[in-house]
């Protein structure tokens, strides 16, 4: 037990937490934007895989890191457009379409990877984002290593939280997005095109998800492996509910999960002899479920989540 407390005071634990949380922030905010507009996007797992593959492949083929991130975002937005065509315009089931997008996105990523690199036995590496030491701040004990010695993409992730909050809650377009998720008929009655708002929100959200995936291959690791998203997308879907669709709470939830994840890796090492390591692997997920039960019972769902909007339909 005391070992676990000691972990809490190591800079390495906090640095790992912040690193692990970055893709979760991108993914959770992306999902949050989609759901605020009334569209559940279960394509997230596949879109993150696509983003991881696209960003890494861009750099591997000779592109630079930042254009790689932009490329991943664009590919993600395209997958978002695909999801929006099926769910927003054709009003198909959001669950089925999302799962379809996930299967399609993941398989397509592996397929392209194999097509381009048929002979690779070990995944080839790229030069990933370097830690960007913030002058003076990075010298601080613990906080310096945890918060101010991360890569630029992590800083971007943290910055995205207030930006998404501001856009959703302080701009007319954010109001239109939230209203589309609450009562699309009201939005249409005010002369705003609900289908366009929802399509846009799903595309932007999907772009963020893809950047989350790209973070994993371009900033955390330096290569693309099969199955490397490993359920992070699903965690993001859960985090959105945990956060009651609030960006700030989403950051908190993501930090909690990332902290548990970082903790379990270290706990495995210190207690692995007595407790099977699978138990520690389970821990973050069990804790997520417990946290959901405690936190998410009184949440107010966006009232039009999963409800397709058909213009001119007789009501």
């Amino acid at each position: 037990m005391s070992d676990l407390f000691e972990i809490l005071f190591t800079a390495g634990f906090w640095a790992a937490t912040i690193r692990i949380v970055s893709p979760l922030i991108f993914g959770t905010l992306g999902e949050l934007i989609c759901e605020r507009a009334g569209v559940l996007n279960l394509g997230i797992e596949g879109i993150m895989t696509v983003g991881a593959m696209a960003g890494w492949m861009w750099v591997y083929q000779g592109g630079d890191l930042w254009t790689g991130v932009i490329f991943a975002a664009c590919v993600g937005a395209l997958f978002g457009l695909l999801h929006a065509i099926f769910t927003v315009h054709l009003c198909l089931s959001q669950h089925v379409t999302g799962i379809g997008i996930t299967l399609f996105g993941s398989s397509l990523s592996y397929f392209i990877y194999r097509m381009l690199l048929p002979d690779a036995t070990t995944p080839p590496k790229i030069e990933p984002f370097e830690p960007l030491l913030i002058p003076w701040f990075s010298e601080l004990p613990i906080v310096g290593e945890a918060l101010f010695s991360q890569t630029a993409l992590t800083y971007l992730a943290l910055l995205t939280v207030p930006v998404v909050w501001y856009v959703l809650f302080r701009t007319p377009v954010g109001l239109a997005v939230r209203m589309s998720g609450e009562n699309p008929v009201a939005v249409e009655a005010q002369g705003i095109n609900v289908l366009a708002v929802r399509t846009g929100a799903v595309m932007v959200g999907s772009a963020l998800m893809a950047v989350g995936g790209a973070f994993i291959t371009m900033s955390w690791f330096d290569a693309f492996y099969f199955g490397m998203i490993n359920g992070r997308g699903w965690i993001c879907v859960a985090l959105v509910i945990f956060a009651s669709w609030q960006p700030g709470k989403a950051l908190l939830g993501a930090l909690l999960f990332a902290g548990l994840e970082a903790m379990q890796v270290r706990a495995q090492q210190s207690a692995g002899a007595i407790i099977p390591y699978q138990f520690f692997l389970m821990l973050p997920y069990i804790m997520s479920i417990v946290a959901m039960i405690v936190m998410a019972r009184k949440t107010k769902y966006p009232q039009a989540l999963l409800v397709p909007f058909r213009r001119g339909e007789r009501v």
Binding site: T171, M179, E182, A186, A189, Q190, G191, Q303
Partner: protein, 516 residues
């Protein structure tokens, strides 16, 4: 010569498949006028307004605002031409504030910030100008129905509407709230706006409008100035023939059938029942008036067996009600007419005969040993019921969802009445029906009363309650008042009680005591 009309319909026609919802409609509206669109359900009133507001596109004809053609099928164009619509079903987002609901879409979507201060000032000014009192920062979910309607009206006025369309605005209001709405409309027209008022309630139309256009089956069958219009004449125009609603005949009430005492449900909120007492006798119809959400639905659910969690007692013919057990409740002689025909009354995707036997699947008449359904017998019986209740359909094997509201209600009636129930729960039995079907349903209920049934009639229509019941009780926040004969209280008094402004039971009893 008066000024040019602010709004003009020219030969507007709209078809949905084989159905012509609007047939060659021509109408004009001038500044300061209140035009009432009168018509039964399905007459095409709402369709016409949806065309005006750009929700639908007309197949033929055009609409002119201030003499200029309105681009069809564009809500945006309608709004900028000064048309504001208050929908029958409010288009508000519950989880957002009043201010957010009103300002959405009023600013450029590409602006990086909202002018919240200016927006709030403009809204506050309008709230004062029109007397539409509502808190700009309240969440819509916390507002009453009357307040929500004010938000809807503000939403239209905020966008500088000059023509305000109100679709069945009083359907959800208490009489006092409706009066208040009429005051608002007067102040709005005094400022030079024009109003289109959709309704099928004649007394409202006569009270508020300056001009009436009557629609029947998609066509205008008459346009007249309200001051020249007579109630009977409008009714006949609307229905196409003279319809008389059945009247209550005097009959001596029998023994108590339904006895409820001290019925209370937990959970709090305005719909939880609080110490409800009620006795209904044979040969008696007792009405419950109240604004939706004050506990009448909970009471109905208890009596139907859908809620079993309550304290207090309820009995039918002296036998305790089987709480939360619909099958036993039906078997003990309860006939149920649920509030929502589509959601609870009938299963739309199943055939008529299947729906008709759904309450006695195990009876020996239509099943072998309660296990296997005798389909031939069931269809045969359905055919008889269809004939007896004059249900217009293709036969017992027609899909139930294809029926009109009136025919579906007749099926529900036949299922409930064919068992000769001693107690009938009629929850909003005529809501949304046209005049002919209303007269039929009410007539059947009166026949059942004649035959000795005790009937509980829950309704939001006070006129219906006044003419159809032996006694009326009012429910407010889960408390039920003493039932009194319709002559004892005026509609205005009942309206006040529905809004919770009332003496409590003991004061009423004291009042009776003073009389002696």
């Amino acid at each position: 010569m008066a000024a040019a009309p602010i709004l003009e319909f020219r030969g507007v026609t709209k078809r949905f498949g084989a159905l012509t919802a609007n047939d060659n409609i021509s109408l004009t509206l001038n500044q300061g006028e209140v035009l009432a669109l009168l018509g039964e359900n399905g007459a095409g009133k709402t369709t016409l307004m949806n065309i005006l507001f750009g929700h639908y596109q007309a197949d033929e004809g055009e609409i002119l605002v201030d003499g200029e053609a309105l681009p069809p099928g564009s809500t945006q164009a309608a709004i900028s031409a000064g048309i504001g619509m208050v929908h029958q079903h409010f288009t508000l987002a519950d989880n957002l504030t009043v201010l957010e609901n009103i300002t959405v879409g009023t600013e450029s979507l590409w602006s990086w910030r909202q002018e919240n201060q200016a927006n709030r000032e403009k809204l506050t000014r309008m709230i004062e100008d029109y007397g539409l009192v509502v808190d700009p920062d309240a969440l819509v979910s916390t507002l009453s129905v009357g307040e929500r309607q004010r938000v809807e009206i503000l939403k239209a006025l905020y966008r500088d509407a000059r023509i305000l369309i109100l679709d069945e605005p009083t359907a959800v209001l208490t009489p006092q709230e409706a009066d208040r709405l009429f005051e608002t409309l007067k102040s709005i027209t005094a400022k030079g706006l024009a109003v289109i008022f959709i309704s099928h309630k004649l007394h409202e139309i006569l009270a508020i409008s300056t001009k009436v256009a009557v629609l029947r089956r998609g066509s205008i069958v008459g346009t007249l100035a309200t001051k020249d219009a007579k109630r009977e004449q409008l009714a006949e125009l609307m229905v196409g023939r003279v319809v008389t609603r059945p009247k209550l005949s005097a009959i001596k009430r029998g023994a108590p059938v339904l006895e409820i005492s001290d019925l209370t449900t937990g959970g709090g909120g305005s719909s939880a029942l609080k110490n409800v007492d009620l006795v209904i006798h044979a040969h008696e119809i007792v009405g419950i008036a109240g604004v939706a959400g004050n506990g009448q639905a909970v009471l109905a659910d208890i009596l139907s067996g859908l809620i079993g969690n309550f304290t207090g007692s309820a009995s039918i013919n002296g036998r305790e009600l089987a709480a939360g057990d619909p099958r036993s409740i039906v078997a003990s002689g309860v006939g149920r007419i649920p509030e929502d025909r589509h959601a609870r009354g009938m299963i739309g995707d199943m055939e008529i005969w299947e729906n008709l036997i759904s309450e006695d699947l195990r009876s020996s008449e239509i099943s072998y040993g309660g296990m296997v359904i005798n389909g031939d017998r069931a269809r045969e019986r359905a055919t008889e019921q269809i004939k007896e209740f004059d249900v217009r359909c293709e036969g017992p094997e027609a899909e139930t969802k294809l029926l009109s509201g009136g025919n579906m209600q007749k099926l529900i009636l036949s299922r409930a009445l064919s068992r000769n129930p001693s107690f009938i729960l009629a929850n909003q039995p005529v809501r949304g029906l046209d005049e002919g079907a209303i007269a039929y349903v009410q007539g059947r209920l009166l026949e059942a009363r004649q035959a000795g049934a005790a009937i509980l009639l829950i309704s939001e229509d006070l006129d219906e309650l006044m003419s159809l019941t032996d006694r009326i009780a009012v429910i407010y926040h889960g408390s039920l008042s003493l039932p009194e004969p319709p002559g004892k209280r005026s509609i205005a008094e009942i309206g006040l009680m529905m809004a919770g402004q009332t003496q409590n039971k003991s004061e009423e009893l004291q009042g009776v005591g003073h009389g002696h």
